[in-house]
Amino acid sequence: MPERETASDIEDAANLWAAKAERGLTAEDRRQLDQWLEGDSRRLGAFVRAQAAWIHAERAVALGTMPETESTLPQEPAHNAPRRRTPDRRMILGGGVALAAAFAGAYVVNSGRYRTLESGVGEIRRLVLKCGTVLTLDTDTRVDISASSDDRRLELVRGKLFVDAPRWRDRPLVVKAGGLVLQTAEGAFGVQNLGKTPIVALVTGGTLIASQSRGMFGAKQAVTVEKDHALTFAPDTLLAADAVRSVAAARQAQLLAWRDGMLSFGGERLVDAVRAFDRYGPVRIVVADPELARQRITGLFKADDPKGFAIAIAASLGGVAESQGETIRISAKKSVSA
């Protein structure tokens, strides 16, 4: 029996592959990776473990400054002490980029009262706040964070946001969206605020309390949204208990697929599904045939690849997809003319 590769050798090779995969693989890389993975069943395990460690390390953002070796650790007290303005090591290292990029999203406003996180079109941002809360911003999303709240009061100005908030002191995490105030002691939930469509809040962990303020003298109306339930709230309506429904696991995965850069459909009409791609880039899909437009579609698609979606869908419905500039047209197959 040939000598068995040690787990440690596999780990080293897997780390290199994970580093490569993280910067992006060419088709040739991918072929080689697949070939390598096939060589031993443990290799895939080591590869996903390395990727998981890389992802897991994103929480280093919460450290704020780069840790030094223990002997040279700066003697700074509590982390909420005001940031020193002297250029520390990190500023020198990262130059001007460091501070803004530490918050991943574009650092647009820092008025002192709040700061703004924004994701660009086609971009999905993940970042960790001081209190350990992990935010995921979907494409074209804006979140304002109140400066005096220790990162516990957010406002979803537009777009989709997923919040995973641990308990932190005695302060609830609050997200304002439209006319609603959502709060939780600890929990995980997705919120969307897409202009004219209803605000949807889907809770996957903990309990969310949603309240609506009716002016200074109006009574505050509140409903509780438990885990595996979603609240749907149309702007300018009154909040009522029947706005909360339970949501099956499969549907939840579909609603949250955007976090992996995917769009998931489970029986939507094609004409509605194509609009979901609009938010991720300049390309617009047009369904030219009313018969096709009514077809219901199912499946998981990459949000940044409207063309791939159009071709796959057209093929499955017996149509064709043609692109002209930034427009992709899905139409029924032309009758054979030659």
């Binding site: 993280e22 473990r49 998981a52 890389w54 897991h56 919460a62 450290l63 290292l93 530490a102």
Partner: protein, 206 residues
């Protein structure tokens, strides 16, 4: 091209990796096999979790991962690739991977951060800079290379080395975060530090 298995790796990062030290301690305690055999089991376990068609029905990923590790161990045993049967301390105990929700779960967030911090502290300076620019400041490989005046290829190698330090926090050395001065109140023995009360009880009562 997007990295393969990215969504699954994200799930593993959130639900399995934080429990790897406890899983290793549990295997070590109940089987008394060598560390290198445990490394094999851990890799096989991740491989199986990576290949699952879907994980959304898994309510308790920690328990599930422990069960997978157990079956990997037992399969290895059948093929006698891992250990002679005599060395199993307590096969019955392996059946009890499951337990009540982890009482430490609440403090996990803090502990995870300490693990990452300890890993960064252990990294050599250049590796640490690469890691920080890539992972925290969000620079691309190319931007990082430019910033530090390194070849892109070198940045890639340093990222891989950084990963080794991160993984060491979950691997054989176990809970290296315990070495951090901030965790002096934690037991030094990684096995003890990671043992869950219910498992400890199982063992003591046998």
């Amino acid at each position: 091209m997007q990295a393969p298995y990215l969504a699954r790796s994200r799930w593993l990062a959130a639900h399995v990796l934080p429990h790897e030290p406890a899983m290793r301690a549990w295997i070590r305690r109940t089987t008394q096999i060598s560390d290198s055999d445990i490394d094999d089991i851990v890799q096989e376990t991740y491989a199986i979790l990576a290949k699952l068609e879907s994980v959304e029905q898994i309510r308790d990923p920690k328990t599930y991962a422990f069960q997978v590790a157990r079956s990997v161990f037992l399969q290895g045993l059948r093929r006698s690739k891992i250990v002679p049967i005599g060395s199993i301390a307590d096969l019955a105990a392996l059946g009890e991977a499951d337990d009540a929700p982890d009482p430490e779960q609440q403090t996990h967030g803090k502990r995870e951060l300490q693990r990452v911090e300890a890993a960064i502290q252990d990294m050599p300076t250049q590796v640490r800079k690469v890691f920080w620019l890539r992972r925290v400041d969000g620079l691309s490989q190319r931007e990082t290379a430019k910033q530090l005046g390194l070849a892109e290829h070198t940045v890639e190698k340093y990222s891989a080395r950084g990963l080794k330090f991160l993984l060491a926090q979950f691997g054989r050395g176990g809970n290296a975060a315990a070495k951090s001065s901030k965790m002096q109140d934690t037991a030094q023995d990684p096995v003890v530090a990671d043992a869950k009360p219910s498992n400890a009880r199982t063992r003591n009562s046998q």
